[in-house]
């Protein structure tokens, strides 16, 4: 039994824990690379599991009461809190009532909660008179401490909302996919399925459109060559400062960032910079937009996608026996909305809220370093919330170098660890997934089919088969390295990676299931993808020739 970062909330007691739970699965989708203590303990650990358990109770999910978690060697592991058969029976009637509104009108509930959370962010800023990003520097230490505490509650609310939707989204999407397979004989890898899910406009595309607009504007102002030839993004920004037209573009870019820049380089982490703080982060995407010729094709394609979707809906409905069509269409509609939510929510929930978290903790780090509490502003992420409170007022009295030093050492140790993918009885994993289909959002259980003799087996995929040259992209700041027609291999993708889908021919990822960003986007762009391969970025090297078979959900390395 080992406490992680000196905190005993999530320590793993192998013997007893495996008596209570069937299997612990590594959260490879979110938790790799290992988080530093502040985020792991006081954001992820404090709110995420609580929110899943809360959603399970509120929805009265029959077979699961949410997830329990353990931290093993710096990595989060999840276990489903399974119910007994009797409990499941008792919980079913209320579940029936609570899930209804999501089937009837998923979108209406989401629009309401979306407005609520955006308003909560706005109110938080207003309470402290914060209009611009830099305004935070003017707060007193007392105000900053209050803001930090208030933010934690906003963070809580964000996760609660997140799970209120994520759970029904997975249930509906999963059921629909299953029904398509059982009733009509086509699964999520079928192009028909992809057509059914495509053509919905979400904030991801709105955001992307802005990126394209900025790219076109740069070309208009004559910076085409500058963007194409200047490799270093910081250098590019400096060069733009030198001319009037350049400053004009930068001003537009900053206006864009004040609105849309609340996103961190790693979506779920405070220890990486946000776009608004480090404008160079957005440049690779703008470069991708410019190099693809400046036409934002997804927008033009949407009309066609909508038409194709409607045709697909009709085609599918017609195949369903008339007497079953009623429920099938209700389910299809709900599943489509669930898919749309899955794409839309990142912007409003994960990205925005963690952008705020970065903003506040970074300011605390800056002041701590100035007052000699810690050496480096970024060291703040090796503290936990209680220690931050202790040192904020009066600032400078308590020094926290020692804590930073010990935890940094521990964290660096975890970085070298390749996490074991599970503890416990893996043979029963399908049973566990049946009881709690949502857990596949965080864990990957690839379906290995020996007969295919593939090099990698995915947990999900989007249809199509393609061969091409692989490029391993470990983080989004490397996206500009992608060349059109290559196959992108990544740990996972999130909203900020979207522009890459414009130029690549196929996508392979370590993490992610059927509702993951990579699969949904690949479907939208009509390119093959295989996700949840666990070791794609390890086994595939840049320059390898690979065959991505999205129909079978496997990848072959041809070398």
């Amino acid at each position: 039994m080992a406490a992680v970062y000196g905190v005993t909330r999530f320590e793993f007691d192998e013997e007893n824990d495996l008596k209570s739970y069937t299997v612990f699965l590594a959260d490879v989708v979110h938790g790799r690379p290992p988080w530093r203590p502040l985020f792991l303990i006081d954001s992820w650990g404090k709110w995420v599991y609580r929110a899943v358990q809360r959603a399970a109770e509120q929805l009265s999910l029959p077979t699961t009461r949410g997830w329990d978690a353990r931290y093993i060697k710096g990595y989060p592991y999840l276990a489903v809190i399974e119910t007994t058969e009797q409990e499941a029976k008792k919980r079913a009637p209320l579940f029936r009532k609570r899930i209804r509104p999501y089937i009837e009108d998923f979108n209406a509930i989401w629009e309401e909660r979306k407005a609520d959370i955006m308003n909560t962010y706005k109110e938080l800023k207003q309470r402290y008179g914060l209009k611009k990003y830099e305004g935070i520097k003017k707060l007193s230490n007392v105000e900053l401490m209050d803001l930090f505490d208030d933010y934690m509650q906003v963070n809580r609310k964000q996760w609660d909302i997140h799970m209120e939707f994520m759970v029904p989204a997975y249930y509906l999407f999963g059921l629909f996919e299953q029904m398509c397979t059982e009733l009509l004989g086509f699964g999520y890898t079928d192009p028909l399925f992809a057509r059914l899910m495509a053509g919905f406009d979400s904030m991801v595309f709105q955001f992307n459109k802005e990126i394209w607009r900025l790219g076109n504007r740069a070309v208009e102002l004559g910076f085409d060559k500058l963007f194409r030839t200047t490799e270093d993004a910081e250098e590019l920004l400096a060069k733009l400062e030198e001319s009037k037209a350049g400053r004009e573009w930068l001003e537009e870019y900053h206006d864009f960032l004040e609105v849309h820049g609340w996103r961190n380089e790693r979506m779920l982490d405070w220890a990486t910079p946000s776009w608004i703080e480090k404008p160079s982060l957005g440049i690779p995407l703008i470069k991708v937009a410019i190099s693809s010729g400046g036409t934002y094709t997804i927008e033009e394609r949407r009309e066609e996608a909508v038409r194709e979707r409607k045709e697909a809906e009709k085609e599918v409905s017609d195949k369903v026996p008339a007497e079953q069509r009623g429920w099938f269409e209700a389910l299809m509609k709900a599943a489509q909305k669930a898919g749309y939510w899955s794409e839309d929510h990142n912007y409003y929930l994960d990205l925005y809220c963690n952008g705020l978290g970065r903003w506040i903790t970074r300011e605390i780090g800056r002041r701590f370093a100035e007052a000699g509490v810690i050496d480096d502003p970024e060291d703040v992420y090796f503290l936990i919330a209680d220690e931050i409170e202790k040192a904020l007022i009066p600032m400078g009295k308590n020094k926290l170098h020692k804590q930073v030093e010990v935890r940094k050492k521990e964290w660096k140790g975890y970085l070298k660890v390749a996490p074991k993918s599970y503890y416990g009885n893996i043979d029963l994993v399908q049973e566990v997934l049946r009881k709690d289909p949502v857990i596949s959002v965080a864990t990957s259980v690839p379906v290995v089919r020996e007969d295919l003799k593939a090099d990698l087996y995915g947990a999900a995929s989007s249809p199509g088969v393609v061969e091409g040259v692989a490029r391993v992209i470990m983080s989004e700041d490397k996206l500009a390295e992608l060349k059109p027609g290559e196959i992108m291999v990544a740990p996972g993708t999130s909203a900020p990676w979207t522009p890459a889908f414009e130029i690549v021919k196929g996508v392979v990822t370590d993490g992610g299931g059927a509702l993951s960003h990579a699969v949904i986007l690949a479907r939208e762009y009509g390119i093959p993808s295989v996700t949840g391969c666990l070791e794609a970025t390890k086994k595939i090297k840049t320059g390898d020739k690979v065959k991505v078979d999205g129909d079978l959900g496997v990848v072959y390395i041809l070398r």
């Binding site: 029959p62 077979t63 058969e85 499941a88 079913a92 579940f95 029936r96 899930i99 209804r100 089937i103 009837e104 997975y170 249930y171 999407f173 999963g174 059921l175 996919e177 299953q178 029904m179 397979t181 059982e182 999520y188 017609d318 195949k319 026996p321 008339a322 007497e323 079953q324 009623g326 429920w327 269409e329 209700a330 389910l331 709900a334 994993v429 399908q430 997934l433 049946r434 009881k435 289909p437 949502v438 596949s440 959002v441 259980v445 379906v447 947990a459 999900a460 299931g513 059927a514 509702l515 959900g553």
Partner: protein, 331 residues
């Protein structure tokens, strides 16, 4: 005793459910009210019980189980194979065989042929489709006796057996006298395919669908199913075949045939007092309306007037407790 081993359909009625199972009893009832049902007879549950005791199978199985005491799934499977073997090795007792073969000869005579093709199906108080062996095209006395032993070996439950003549069906399917999903009892739904009804009942091929107004028998909607496969006879059994292209694009029923099936469905619903789920067939070499025959009827299971949303929730709850799961873990 032997008088109760085999019974003609016309000897049966609703009251004989315990003796021959609900399915046979309903067939008897259909004959009584003058509906066209292929001629046939039933072997009673008594016949099965007596077979088991007369041959000594009951005792042998008792001994086997006392000795082997299966503990896990693997051992249970083995026990099931062994017990089946015990039954299969037994000859049909002479008295029982005589009753069966004499009924078979009489059935052949009624059908004006030497050796009539019959289908055998097991039938208990409750039907369990797909759990017991069914033989659809059995010809000849010795073959028949053999098949009976096989069916009995496949069930460790007291079941009766139905035997009836099977003729080449041009089309077959089911009619629900109320919408089974919504409970709407103003509409009737017919599903049909080419060939024998097994392709429709088994859900293997997407059938043609007719929706009829119950009152007027007007066809409200008809939908051409792709009907890619159909089931037909082959020597000593049945076979699934690809529907020839000139037929898959055509409806398997004419409108007046559909209406006639609707009319018969209404008669049955009125007689039994609740909506019915009826199997029908259209025989190849007879003319309308004599070509339409009924194979079986039972009370329809209705999803209690549920809204589509309720049905989605039902499905979801079914996934938790039953097989199948959610998205196969691929979500």
């Amino acid at each position: 005793m032997s008088g109760k081993w085999a019974l003609w359909f016309e000897e049966l009625g609703k009251e004989d459910r315990e003796l021959v199972g609900r399915k046979c009893a309903n067939l008897g009832e259909m004959v009584k009210i003058g509906l066209r049902v292929p001629p046939g007879f039933a072997l009673s549950i008594e016949a099965y019980k007596d077979f088991m005791s007369m041959t000594g199978v009951v005792k042998e199985i008792g001994k086997y189980l006392a000795k082997s005491k299966p503990k896990d799934l693997k051992q249970c499977k083995q026990a099931s194979v062994d017990i089946r073997q015990i039954v299969l090795l037994k000859a049909m007792p002479e008295k029982l065989e005589k009753v069966i073969t004499s009924h078979y000869s009489e059935l052949s005579r009624r059908c004006r042929t030497d050796e009539v093709a019959v289908s055998t199906r097991s039938a208990g108080p409750v039907s369990h489709p797909g759990q017991y062996e069914t033989h659809l095209n059995v010809v000849g006395k010795s073959e028949l006796v053999d098949k009976i032993r096989q069916v009995w070996a496949s069930t460790f439950n007291t079941r009766s057996l139905i035997f009836r003549s099977r003729k080449k069906a041009r089309s077959a399917g089911v009619i629900f006298t109320a919408d089974p999903n919504t409970g709407d009892d103003t509409r009737m739904i017919i599903e049909g395919n080419w060939g024998l009804g097994e392709s429709v009942v088994g859900g293997k091929s997407t059938p043609d669908i007719y929706i009829l107004d119950k009152k007027s028998l007007k066809i409200l909607e008809k939908k051409l199913g792709p009907k890619s496969r159909y089931v037909t006879f082959k020597k000593g059994g049945v076979v699934e075949k690809k529907v020839p292209s000139e037929k898959s694009g055509k409806f398997c029923l004419s409108d007046r045939e559909a209406k006639e099936i609707g009319k018969l469905g209404k008669v049955l619903e009125k007689h039994f007092g609740v909506p019915q789920d009826v199997e029908w067939a259209v025989e190849e070499d007879k003319s309308f309306p004599k070509n339409i025959i009924l194979l079986q009827t039972r009370a329809e299971v209705i999803a209690q007037n549920k809204t589509p949303v309720d049905q989605v929730v039902d499905l979801m709850l079914g996934r938790f407790s039953g097989g199948g799961g959610f998205g196969g873990g691929k979500m």
